[in-house]
């Protein structure tokens, strides 16, 4: 049987098997009608491509059906609650999509003359104003493409500031609970990572920081609210200690959703913080990106912000694209062009929809919902830290002790109940962590259903219904996939069947 026939035989109701594009495309067909090219004297200098590329040819209906079918194998926030801690999977308003597609934003070339892009520069400038106001910090750098890119932006500014002061500092303090991007970013700036242990309350003690401080410490990277879903209550003391030692305070802003409109990082002593527009400001995650990670800077780091800058002059908005004027001390350019404009227009639309009052309500509802989960589930599951939490409720594996069921099994059983699992096994400092973030866009009914399902599963686990967990998921398009086999023998692309294999069929 051919691959395609085997696939078609395996449909189950609305679960339609769909082969790879390469399994059924045929050379010669195309889903795009284009005119015949006019014959011209080639200027390709003898570099014409003669070998086939190997791309399959498909008509438009085939392509539409292919992608619609495979899309149905995805979970989405539009479909159900998506409780991934640290990811802020909130509703993505469709107005944002509509605005981002206006030709006046979407069909702009990044190198058009400034006279033709005043509205675009105004949009960037306005978004930066909202971010400055919400963070209480004087300057926002717009170029970073994602959170980790924003971290790089912040750490490079710190490094540039120390270099400008003639200081050779080599060490960055990072709590053990941090996102992996933090130490990876510090390494990209040539820094050595010095881990800081947390205390029994899930927080960093200022005493632990003081112990590590010295003239070689460039700064600290602290996530606040932290990755355990808790607010670092000694944050101002931490900032003061870092500053007294001549270092800078980088804040990982992944969890800004919990405090937007309730507290400003600038009032907490932060020198740089990245803002994931795809988390707090609801640009869609798109299956892993794109995002955007603007960075707010304190006065001390502002001069080193990356290029380009958008500035407002007497005769309109202007781009500073080279080291001159306000950009004279910039650490440089970290990408082509100006930033993630498509994310900026979405985020600005979202902010204007919510306004100052709505954004504050966002934080309050997100925190309220997480505490509601924590309180409702802490006796059925187990919680390593007391509340109140911020916008994430953290559970751990203690309630599964002795059941023979792992956190991974529990997560897969949630899938059978129609739920995407929470973030599991992160942060690393908590055994079998289950970091749960409901966001502010779930109704109470939705939260109650989720609570009921988790209670039911916890009871089943404790009752010894082991197979229900180990065999999970059983009701999905694909059952548990073999990750070990994938890594042992990596198959990372489709390759044409060899003539021998075809003969054997």
């Amino acid at each position: 049987m051919t691959d395609q026939a085997a696939h078609q035989a395996a449909h189950r109701g609305l679960d339609l098997e769909e082969p790879l594009l390469f399994d059924f495309g045929e050379t010669g067909r195309s889903g795009v009608d284009l005119p015949d090219p006019e014959p011209v004297a080639s200027r390709l200098g003898g570099l014409e491509r003669t070998a086939p590329i190997g791309l399959p040819g498909l008509s438009e209906p085939q392509v539409i059906r292919h992608f619609v079918r495979i899309s149905r194998n995805n979970y989405s926030i539009d479909g159900n609650l998506y409780p991934l801690g640290s990811c802020t999977m909130k509703h993505n308003p469709r107005l944002n999509e509509k605005v981002a597609r206006l030709p006046g934003f979407a069909d702009l070339h990044p190198l058009q003359p400034e006279s033709t892009i005043q509205g675009a520069l105004e949009a960037i400038h306005t978004l930066a104003h909202w971010l400055r106001t919400l963070t209480g910090m004087p300057v926002v750098a717009m170029p970073p493409a994602a959170g980790a890119h924003g971290e790089l932006c912040g750490l490079m500014a710190i490094r540039a500031a120390h270099d400008a002061a003639g200081q050779n500092r080599t060490r960055v303090l990072i709590p053990e609970s941090a996102h992996g991007t933090n130490p990876a970013t510090a390494a990209l700036c040539g820094y050595e990572v010095d881990p800081i242990p947390g205390n029994a309350r899930g927080r960093i003690d200022v005493a632990a920081i003081r112990e590590k401080l010295g003239p070689d410490v460039a700064g600290i990277m602290l996530t606040n609210p932290n990755t355990l879903g808790l607010f670092e209550s000694q944050v101002i003391e931490v900032a003061d200690a870092i500053h007294d030692a001549g270092g800078y305070f980088y804040c990982d802003g992944a969890n800004l959703n919990a405090i937007v409109g309730k507290a400003r990082p600038g009032d907490l002593g932060v020198d740089a913080i990245h803002i994931n527009l795809h988390k707090t400001f609801s640009t869609p995650h798109g299956g892993g990106g794109p995002g955007a990670g603007p960075v707010a800077f304190s006065e001390a780091l502002a001069p080193y912000a990356p290029l380009p800058l958008v500035v407002r002059g007497d005769d309109g908005f202007r781009l500073v694209e080279h080291r001159e004027g306000q950009g004279a001390a910039s650490f440089g350019r970290m990408r082509a062009f100006h930033g993630q404009m498509g994310m900026f227009t979405r985020a600005l639309t979202y902010m204007q929809s919510h306004g100052a009052d709505g954004l504050r309500q966002v934080a309050e509802d997100a925190v309220l919902s997480a505490n509601y989960l924590l309180e409702s589930l802490k006796d059925d599951l187990s919680a390593p830290f007391d509340g109140p939490c911020m916008h994430e409720a953290l559970f751990d594996e203690a309630f599964l002790q002795g059941t023979g069921i792992s956190v991974l099994d529990f997560a897969k059983a949630m899938i059978d109940e129609g739920y995407h699992p929470m973030t599991v096994y992160f942060p690393l400092v908590v055994h079998g962590a289950m970091l749960t973030e409901p966001t502010e866009t779930e109704s109470k009914q939705s939260l109650d259903r989720f609570i009921a399902v988790l209670r039911k599963l916890a009871a089943a686990a404790k009752a010894g219904d082991v197979n229900r967990f180990r065999d999970a998921p059983r009701h999905t398009f694909r059952r548990r996939v073999d990750e070990t086999a994938a890594a042992r023998n990596p198959v990372l692309r489709w390759t044409p069947p060899t003539p021998d294999a075809q003969a054997a069929e």
């Binding site: 597609r101 003359p113 390494a187 299956g287 204007q352 504050r360 990750e483």
Partner: protein, 448 residues
Amino acid sequence: MRYLPLTGDDRRDMLAVIGAASVDELFRDIPASARIDGLLDLPNHQGELEVERAMTAMAARNRPAGAGPSFLGGGAYRHHIPAAVDHLIQRSEFLTSYTPYQPEISQGTLQFLFEFQTQVAMLTGMEVANASMYEGATATAEAVLMAQRLTRRHGAVLSGSLHPHYRETVRTQTQFLGLHLDLAPTDISGGEDLASRITADTACVVVQTPDFFGNLHDTTDLAKECHEAGALLVVVVTEPVSFGALKAPGDMGADIVAGEGQSLGVGLNFGGPYVGLFATRSNFVRQMPGRLCGETVDADGRRAWVLTLSTREQHIRRQKATSNICTNSGLCALSFGIHVALLGEAGLRRLAALNHAAAVRLADRLDAVPGVRVVNRTFFNEFTVELAAPAAAAVDTLAADGILAGVPVSRLVPDDPALANLLLVAATETNTDAEMDALATGLTRVTA
């Protein structure tokens, strides 16, 4: 507020369950001195109509590239994108899903990533490609860092015809890592000698084709020189439609291909988000940055997809990871993949031929304008012309007349009088003969 489902009653009931008297009690860990009592100095919430009106007014203060003749390139190109692309990427299941960390309920994303990886590998002529980077310049910087890890050397030679933003991005991203970059002087001739710059500490040579000025390069000999010296060749491509016309980098000795995928499916978007392409040889895969989707089977033995080789990545390896990248450009990779699927082999070749034909016609027309000289001997869909006057002023004048004439080289490489009169001009399948006439007429006027 239309996006917030909780009612006042809900909030009261939830607080009662929690045992808190007010929501502010939940924020008590924030130091009192830093708590905001009232509202920040920003406008309050607005309805959809009001927001749309304000944003539409802002958009109207721009001139869309497609509103008239536009010949802008320089690393971002205006192409026709089939309507099916934007329809498909707006499906909830693609648009509003997260990174496919739970493969059993993410097979849709994983399958399109596997298809994207295959398409990019085929187009670049390489063995493997990753699931996307942010965009072309950062992909190039990652390629240099990967070459450094693979060769354990500390130098890199960057071509003088590499896109200036890419050169600057590589410089920025490597500046604190003890790498020494050899930045070859700006080269508009297409004939620079990079081989002579290779030393015993050169990890890689980075060359772009079609290059920033539009010249095409056969990198076969340069690759040989690199390999004899123990260095790697990184080839950068900023116009992926060229893959439909030109010999693949993998067939000209490339070890790593880094590129920008924007032309296929993504659109101009004022510079972002775009999609970085990254491809290499199979034996280098464990030093690759970014996510990889692999084939495997599920518990019933059915073919399935899963993120793999993640021990390279930051969430496992932390400071020893191959990169700090986490969020990538997944949805733009999907746009790219759908556009390539619609085109297919025949469509992409035809699209590339149309682009080349348009550029040749435009070059012939502009070469006939007094005071305008086409600099290139070879090009794909973009070339450089030398004007009799500074290009930046000419571009501003023509913009006032509704023509986006091209990119003045001085915008990206300022302060070099030798480049002041150079203008990059791109032509794609979207440009009509009437638009080309308008540009020729306009340039006649401003150079007279």
